[in-house]
Each structure stands twice: as structure tokens, then as C-alpha cells.
Symmetry: C2
Subunit: 352 residues, 2 copies
């Protein structure tokens, strides 16, 4: 049997012997309808499995109730930033509680090069956009966003006219306090590419905290790794960590701004017979998923994705609704979560 076309309010109106206006009122709670007819109409709508057509609603409405979540992605490193997963699921949650349609819109470097306008800005079915980080990878997109006026947008973890940024100051302090508390004095820092705001911000937070706690970090114990795709990066991290750990007075703890660097350090340590966390402590930075995808699970600093999502949406909402001027950049503190990669400094290495 051919599937009958979806019912419209007209079908319902006929069946109920009322006008379409009555149906609309009854279902949306607008206008005036008697409780009597309202419940009859509801009943019938239920039976016929009525669902309003989004297209028809969008035709009428001046505002769409939709928000694009724009995710710049270079196909090659699609899976590298573990942040997209948690961000998306948090936006899904938010969409459910706030009743808005989030439209996930991946824009690839290749596409942006020949047409920088994101797909979701094309059909007039969103009111604005939230843009996730990793924009340095897709510069054309940024230029386009700045140049257009129609859609308000706010950035997550990226400087922009309106943005919300992770703040790692507290978490960095906490991490260093934790390490000092269990006896570590000789600590190494390792950072990912500083043109990514998360790494740059982690660095400044760590350096600030180190100063506050009078921690001396040797220059040889500081590393800055440029961007390398995938495996190449890791090989470099391992080489560095191996080198550092060969020194007789090597550090007993490593603070890293990237999970892969952390993993590389652990690997390098283990290969020289140094156990983690018994001999060497390591912390990471990134998502829960990445922290728990290997062993030992990493004590690490994590962005507060929930808050990032909520705040960015709040800002966007203000921008969409109001002439109201909102605070243009906000910060949300990251948090340190303790797992299994930090322990007391070994007896033999205690100094003072």
C-alpha cells in the first residue's frame, strides 16, 4: 500500500468539524478555544500522528528558532580534536532543554577555500551561529564571518568580537599545588603549538602558577612543539621525553598541554624502566575521553564543555534578541580532574 501523505491541520480541522484556526489555537495554546473542543482536537491530532511541517512554520515565522554549530574541520585531522564530541553532546542536551534546533555544520578547509559561507547560512533556517575552535585551520571562514552582517555569531575557545574562552589559571594552580604537595620540585612543561589558543593559554596559566609557587623550571625542561600531523608529532614528543629522562637529575613530573604529549612521555618513561605514576608523574589536558582511553588514566585539566556551551548560547541569544549590548568576551574556568597518573615523588628523589 502506498503511504498516505502526512496529515495537515486542514485534515484535522475537517475531521473535527472546526476551522484550521481552532486547530492551531488548540495545539499551540494561543487564542481562545473551549476546553471542550481543545481536548477533542488534541485527541484527533494524536490519533492522526499529526506533526506540523517545519517548512510551513518557517515560512511564517520571522525568526527560525534554529542555531548553527559551525565546526571547522580539516578532513585529515578530523579526529584529532577530541573536543568536538563533548561539545556536540552538550549542545544536543541544551537543544532539548531549551527547545531549539541545533544544526551541526561541518565546514572543511577545502570547501571554505572556494566558498567561505557555511551551508547553514544559506537557506535562512538559523538565526545565528556558534563557532567552535580550530578556526586557525580554516582562515577563510573567519574572514567571511567578520565580513557579513546578517547572522550574529559567537566563538568558543577562539578570540573574536564575541567569544567564550576557557580559563586554565585556577586549574593550573591546582595542578602545581597537587604536584608540590606530593613532593615534586623538579617539573617539566611541554606545550603543543602555541598558535592554538588552548595551548597558548595553558602556557601562560602554567607559567603564572609556577611563579606564584616559586617553582623553578629549567629551560631544558620546557618544550614547545610545533604543529605536526598525527604520527610525526608523537615521534618527536617521545624523542624529547626520552632525552629529558636520560638526564641524571631528570624531572619527576611533567605538565603537558596535550594528551598525546602526555602519552608520549609515559611511553618514553616506561621504556626506560621508569614507572608512571610511581617514578614519574604526568598530567594532561583535554577531554575525559582522551584521558581515559589509555592507561594509566591521566590526571588532567579539562575545559568545562557544559558551561562553554551554555554561555555561548546565552550570548548568542542576547545578540539575536536584543539591541542589548552584551559582555563581549567571557571566560569559563577549566577544572583539574584527578586520575591515576600522579603520585608521591619517589623517596630517593626528595630534595630538601
Amino acid at each position: 500500500m502506498p503511504i498516505s501523505p502526512p496529515p495537515t491541520i486542514i485534515d484535522i480541522a475537517k475531521r473535527a468539524g472546526v476551522s484550521t484556526r481552532a486547530v492551531s489555537s488548540a495545539l499551540n495554546g494561543t487564542g481562545r478555544v473551549s476546553e471542550q473542543t481543545r481536548s477533542v482536537i488534541r485527541q484527533i491530532a494524536e490519533e492522526m500522528r499529526y506533526q506540523p511541517r517545519l517548512a510551513a512554520q518557517l515560512m511564517r515565522a520571522r525568526t527560525t528558532g534554529g542555531v548553527a554549530l559551525i565546526i571547522p574541520t580539516d578532513q585529515a585531522e578530523a579526529s584529532e580534536s577530541g573536543a568536538h564530541g563533548p561539545l556536540m553532546t552538550n549542545f544536543v542536551d541544551l537543544g532539548e532543554t531549551e527547545g531549539i534546533r541545533f544544526h551541526f555544520d561541518f565546514v572543511s578547509k577545502a570547501r571554505a577555500a572556494h566558498d567561505p559561507a557555511p551551508q547553514s547560512f544559506k537557506g535562512a533556517y538559523v538565526d545565528g551561529a556558534i563557532v567552535t575552535d580550530s578556526m586557525p585551520q580554516v582562515p577563510a571562514l573567519r574572514d567571511y564571518l567578520m565580513s557579513q552582517q546578517r547572522y550574529p555569531w559567537v566563538c568558543i575557545n577562539e578570540e573574536a568580537p564575541y567569544c567564550v574562552l576557557s580559563d586554565f589559571d585556577d586549574a593550573a594552580r591546582e595542578a602545581i599545588r597537587l604536584l608540590i604537595g606530593v613532593g615534586h620540585r623538579n617539573i617539566a612543561f611541554a606545550f603543543g603549538p602555541l598558535d592554538f589558543i588552548s595551548h597558548a593559554s595553558a602556557r601562560s596559566s602554567f607559567e603564572k602558577a609556577a611563579r606564584e609557587y616559586d617553582l623553578r623550571v629549567e629551560n631544558e625542561s620546557r618544550a614547545y612543539f610545533p604543529y605536526k600531523p598525527r604520527r610525526e608529532g608523537i615521534a618527536e614528543y617521545v624523542a624529547w621525553a626520552t632525552e629529558v629522562l636520560r638526564r641524571p637529575d631528570h624531572p619527576t613530573a611533567f605538565l603537558c598541554s596535550d594528551m598525546r604529549i602526555s602519552r608520549a612521555v609515559i611511553y618514553a618513561a616506561l621504556r626506560q624502566g621508569l614507572l608512571v605514576p610511581e617514578d614519574i608523574s604526568v598530567t594532561g589536558m583535554g577531554t575525559t575521553g582522551d584521558a581515559e582511553k589509555g592507561y594509566p588514566c591521566l590526571t588532567s585539566i579539562e575545559p568545562d564543555f557544559r558551561a562553554l556551551a551554555e554561555l555561548s548560547y546565552q550570548m548568542l541569544k542576547e545578540l539575536i534578541e536584543g539591541e542589548q549590548c552584551v559582555q563581549s568576551t567571557r571566560r569559563v574556568p577549566g577544572k583539574l580532574v584527578s586520575r591515576d597518573s600522579v603520585a608521591n615523588v619517589p623517596r630517593g628523589m626528595l630534595c630538601g
Copy 2:
């Protein structure tokens, strides 16, 4: 200045001094318009930055040109299945080349419990759906999909009336041939929860290949791990691997159906002074991202996400367009990709 509303074909028609029909024809290549007026109209549309309103197009069209990619997700383990990333980016690519709107629709266990109909089935803005695996986590969704008639759907890596499944037979053979080729004879198997089709299918592929190559796998060298969330799982893997590796005649290679198990084995080995890959070889199964997010990068079996996406879309297209009966379940071979976790069996352990 207030932003002027987006232009419509009416605005263009006025500006060009023609009818709206002419504009529509010119822009869509339907009907007949002289090259003359066509280029004039195109010019004007360009200048005015005209974009057709999706809502208006959808109103008229009987088919929407949209496809939902339904991703069942339990918030808690959102980041666990690394497959979502590669799948999504492949669908984005596909959407660009095929000119279809893919609508990513995450459905959480919680939501499905009180309303099993996916959001994307509500407003009549897609023609059908592709459903990714991990459905066992959200059983209500499956029941709903089976019960409804309106939208055709095809499953990826999950048994269903229409589905496309990864086939690891060839890759498993290749993996075992690789290991045997470099001298391994004493091999262990470790599998994740068998109620996930990927693990179950990996198991049968490995067992089949083992028989073909006359490989004897001791019963103590086989492990089946039930589903445990996150860290708990890993601790168990490590305990098992540690135990196995303590045996004097321990295996020299581990074939695992999950990257986390692989990582746990490597960790356990390293802690007992066994190097990977020099002393112990390990393979994994999963995504490129997970294989390269730690060290050593894992030689592993990977689903062919590109083909999975393409085939599932082809099938769905046939279902949407045709009364045509399509082949109802198709298989796409996974592939073995060599990285750094497999090497020659150590001299001392060579047998025969």
C-alpha cells in the same frame, strides 16, 4: 542601521523588470529564458546576494533532499566510540559531492526513553535516515524505527532490514599472516563485549582465520571482556594482560578487537620490562585517530568509513526513490593498516 531582510525572487524580478517565473527559470535552468535575460538575472541575483529560502523550497517540493544521520548516544559514553567522527566527516564529504543536506541527529538514551521518535522525523524535512551503530545502547529507537512506515532507513554496522556491515575476514587473515610471517606462533586474542556487532564479528573473523592458518590459541590466551564504562574496563584489561604476560611461555603477540584493550596490553607489557614491539607485538581495531593517539601507533584493523557511508547512502537512495527492491544487507571489507606495534618475534622465543 537595521539589516534589510534577505531578498526574494520577487525583489530580483522587480529589479530586472521580469516575472518571478523568469527568475526561477534562469537560476534553476528550468523552462526557457534567453541567454540574454538569464545572464542579467544571474548578475542581479549575485549582486543582491540572493539565496532561496529553504523553507519556501521545501513547501513546494514533494521530496526534501535531506537525509538524517541518526547517532544514538549515551551521554556518558559519548566520546567512547571513535567511529562517529570519521563517519560524520565522510557524510559531510558525501553531502557536498552529492548535493544533499545531511542532518546530524543525536538521540540520547534518556530522550529515546520518553519519546523514541528522532527529532529529524518530526518536521518532514528529511526523506529518510541512516542510523549508526551502538543501537544496542538505545533499544527504544530500534523498536520505533521498525514500527514506522513513513521513513526508509538503513543501518551501519548493525543488523537491520537494510544494513551495511563491516567485514573483517580479509583483514583478520592479513593480520594473522603478518604475525606468522614475522615468526609469531604463540598468539593471544582479546575481545570487547560481544553484544556489539563489531566485536562479535571481529571474533568470528579471527577464529576463522586462525583455523585457516592452523594457529593454535590456548584457552588461557583468549579473553572476552564484558561492557564496562571507561576506567573500570581498562583496569580489568591491564590485570588480565599482566597475568598472561607473567606466564613463562606467554604469548608474543596480542590481537585485540578494541584499541583500549591494545593500549592496556602495551602498558602491562611495558611495566614488566617487555618492550612493544621489540618483545611483544600488538594489534588493535578501530579508527585511525585512536590508533595514532598514543605510542606506539597501533597496527590495526579499521572499518572503511568512506565505503560504509557511500554504500549506506546508495541503499537509502534506492529505498527512497524506488519501489525497486535492493539487496538488503551489504558488506564492506575492513583493512589492516600497518604502523609501529608489530615486529619480529624475539630470537629467544622462536619455536621450530
